[in-house]
Subunit: 205 residues, 2 copies
């Protein structure tokens, strides 16, 4: 996953500027960021897009398909943040650490979207291909892990580390980690996870 050039003009699935389809997704993204995942009713999205409640059906067969398109936008934004912050000149360990920080920051600042992205009950639909959306990010992480821990099975370590990030984000959001330590910052858990899976940080010169 070293697509050096950040090619921006990808028409891909739906041109955001295109008609109602893109407008519904854009309205949904705004809505989930502003009011959370439970505000994403089909009728409310249609209302804010200025169309009748039956209009979305022409572009998304069911509510889940619309929500999945919104969630896909979230994965895209998360991926974009990671590659935007990435410094290829830095060491792999430092790059993983940055990736992890961006990940946790995204989960914290885009709580509603992050929640939606992993609400499989709202998204799971087999051929929607939503899970595959996170694969490039995972591959990127796996590549970096392989350089930090050459002996280990990089896919397993990367998966376990990703799970750790995800768990920290979720339990922190849920409140139990906060409750357990009394602090107000998940950073200790993050450094503990990074040290555990990658070994202690290299001394920065």
């Amino acid at each position: 996953m070293n697509d050096e050039a950040g090619v921006h003009g990808e028409p891909e699935t739906a041109d955001p500027e295109d008609g109602l389809r893109g407008r519904l997704v854009r309205v949904g993204v705004e809505l989930v960021n502003a009011e959370g995942a439970q505000a994403l009713s089909l009728r409310e999205i249609a209302r804010r897009a200025g169309v009748s409640h039956g209009a979305p059906r022409r572009h998304f067969p069911t509510h889940l398909d619309l929500l999945s398109a919104i969630a896909r936008q979230g994965f895209a934004e998360l991926g974009a943040r990671v590659t935007a912050e990435d410094r290829e000149t830095a060491g792999p360990r430092a790059r993983i650490e940055l990736l992890a920080r961006v990940y946790l920051d995204y989960a914290a600042t885009r709580r509603g979207m992050y929640e939606l992205m992993f609400r499989h009950d709202l998204l799971e639909s087999g051929r929607l291909g939503l899970r595959e959306t996170s694969l490039p990010l995972f591959a990127h992480l796996t590549g970096l892990v392989a350089r930090v821990r050459p002996g280990a099975d990089a896919a397993v370590v990367a998966g376990a580390l990703w799970a750790n990030l995800h768990g920290i984000a979720q339990l922190w959001h849920w409140g139990s980690l906060r409750l357990a330590t009394g602090g107000d910052d998940p950073a200790p858990f993050l450094t503990a996870a990074l040290d555990a899976h990658l070994g202690p940080a290299e001394p920065t010169p």
Copy 2:
């Protein structure tokens, strides 16, 4: 309506419990285990309990309160499973490993309940004290961690490890971990997480 209980003098089978309040929770637990979290509508629970849709309101002011009571039952069952499987004569590292296996097994076999337990949007209500329900389990884990890694901050390591378990359960359930490695068993991620946070397993005597 269909009040066959009064005619036959039903002995309430197992636990007389609390009348309708307990019956609603019991029905909810059966329902979430059988059909998942999205099947837990207030009216369906009332229907299966044989009462009108307004009856639960007498015992649970709102739908969230009923769901929280059901989720609390889930935390209780998880805690019971952990303590039932625990062997105090074993070493702390082995006991943590067993706890982790029980945790992942619970998440896998009680998918609907586990999902409900961490659906903060369905449960979060400030003074419901649901998050506190998981504290004894966390304290148990923290105590064991303190014995395995005496030098470290046990609460932080235990929190990070718990987050790792939670993330593995969730991402495995979600499908992305399965997708990333192609395997069909989350065990590699579990051992990777345990080795990472606790050090490699001690050779079994």
